[in-house]
């Protein structure tokens, strides 16, 4: 039986979840434990999304709940860096010319709940910023997002520049969003394309050898 906070959050009961947090804090329970329970709830949400019982709304709503609980806990938590061992590192962003972010954000969310360290560099990012982010974070996976056809060429040139900078050797590249399919994958030189956030997770796991 999961903790009542995990249950409430996983079932989208925001008010109930916030009340439970208040009650736990009033009882003097450890804020870090509350944070852990939130993460557990996110895991459940991620699993239900993967199973096809939850969709975009539940991902966004659970993200909102975590944010609100985080705001309550923040003053109570000592500056504590996340010590959890990560499965691997992913650099993520929407390519030049495209300002869409929803698909990218879902991919980031699902990668994080599945244990990856995600560096989201944002939308409409020029090639050079991806190259720099790969240099800085040394990821195993580069995930490029784009909704419009303008993204086809931006993805192609981004991958080419990453390669030209000598950074492709130990790096797997996945593209996703809107019109991405195998034709575009070949065109851009990516290793894979993803139809949904689960594809990105499966790909990243394979890239770090935990699939």
């Amino acid at each position: 039986m999961a903790h009542e906070l995990v249950e409430a959050m996983a079932n989208m009961k925001e008010k109930e979840a916030l009340q439970i947090v208040d009650d736990m804090l009033a009882r003097g329970e450890d804020p870090n434990m509350i944070l852990d329970l939130s993460s557990q709830a996110m895991q459940v949400v991620g699993e239900r999304y993967q199973e096809g019982t939850y969709f975009l709304p539940e991902l966004i709503m659970s993200g909102e709940m975590v944010k609100r609980i985080g705001e309550v806990l923040k003053p109570l938590l000592a500056a504590k860096t996340d010590q959890t061992k990560k499965l691997g590192i992913v650099v993520l962003g929407t390519v030049r010319g495209d300002i869409h972010d929803i698909g990218k954000d879902i991919v980031g969310f699902m990668l994080e709940v599945n244990g990856f360290e995600v560096h989201d560099i944002g939308i409409d990012q020029p090639e050079a910023n991806f190259v720099q982010a790969v240099k800085d974070h040394q990821p195993q996976v580069l995930a490029l997002s784009g909704f419009l056809s303008v993204a086809f060429d931006s993805m192609k040139s981004t991958i080419a520049e990453v390669e030209a900078a000598g950074l492709r050797t130990n790096l797997k590249v996945i593209i996703g969003g809107g019109q991405m399919d195998d034709t575009v994958r070949k065109y851009t030189g990516a290793d894979a394309y993803g139809d949904d956030a689960m594809a990105a997770v499966a790909f990243a796991k394979e890239a770090v050898g935990v699939a």
């Binding site: 709304p57 030049r96 303008v150 086809f152 809107g178 399919d181 070949k186």
Partner: protein
Amino acid sequence: MAPKAWADMTPAERRAWRIDKWRNPDIEWASPEAEEEYKARVDRILAAINLEKPDRVPVRLNMGFWPAKSGGLTAYEAMSDAPRAVKAWKDFNLKFQPDASVDPLHNTVPGAMFEALGYKLYSWPGHGVSKEASYQYVEREWMVPEDYDELIADPANFMLRTYLPRTVEGFAGFADFPPLLDFIELPFVFGSVGVWGSDEMAAGLQRLAEAARVLNEWGKVVFPAMGELMALGFPPYAGSGTKAPFDILGDTLRGTKGVIVDMFRYPEKVLAACESLVQTALDWPLKRGAVSPTIPLVFIPLHKGADGFMSDEQFHTFYWPTLRKLLLGLIDEGMIPFLFAEGRYNTRLEAIMDLPKASTVWLFDQSDMARAKETIGTIACIQGNMPLSLLHAGTAEQVAEHTRKLIDIAGKDGGFILDIGAVADEGKDENLEVMIKTAKEYGVY
């Protein structure tokens, strides 16, 4: 004029009246052949809409900035150089000979007009995105949760006094717009006059006038060009547009994240807002005066109800009921809703069948066309869905093969219009040519 009072006409009579105006426009044709071609094209499209077999599969092209790029213009140039832009669009139609005109209207409206308005809802080429990229929506919570009651009570009032002042700089002064009833009694009128002289209002009105000036200059070039396309034999496809009430709320008022959170926090407000927006969404295409009341197809892009964006239960609760009301309202007025189901609609194909037969057209993006044919395709014309990726990065043979496959599956026994699944901003002209040629040869019934 309609043959008898509009209110006394049945929906079928209204539709017939609109179709007649669309098929037989009062224009000067470029040639007798052009007139013949125009009518043959309308008949071809109508047969498909009526779930009959036309002479061949009609070809319509879901175009964004492609004609500009094909003619050597960037998206920025298309939105700043109307004479060159309309030439590019005309050349495109003459070269590809689609069954419905690819008109320049929606991709050439000058960026300068949006600059003058101080329009914040989108980025456009050279303003927020590069000169090569197409215009894109700027996702924000332009409406806050506290606004729901005002929106629900009166959407038009909310738009004028709250939403537009936030989203269009030219409307900033309207935030203080006084109660209109001041004007019905002489001793009260003074209370409504002063606002027109406020600095904000005066500056805003100047911006609006400048926007109108830019638009009128553009219109002098673009409207005749649209008429010329008709005269050359290319029928316009959709004459107006509207949106699903939930999308109005979710796309440009609350934003994706906003509307989603509201479904959990204030579901009754979301439902009431969607109900309240039905009439607004109906009025949008219907109250256009003389612009284009006759072309029966009404374009409706669908967003937040796609696969993955919500569960079936959420679709049936929040999305479909008010969209269906809107569709029935349009059908009642003799319009033919033309819905563009962006993304995938595989889990909605049965739900959307709850509509009168041969009354709607469904353009699918990445949905499974075999399933679409077996479901919604039994009561409505389906359209689509050549992948944009193939036109952009595929080979000519792949395109031909996919076209044949679509015609075999979705085109079986009529009720199908070939189109591109997504709005096409660029791609290989030679691939597009192959798609159209294949449809015209292989698509003969």
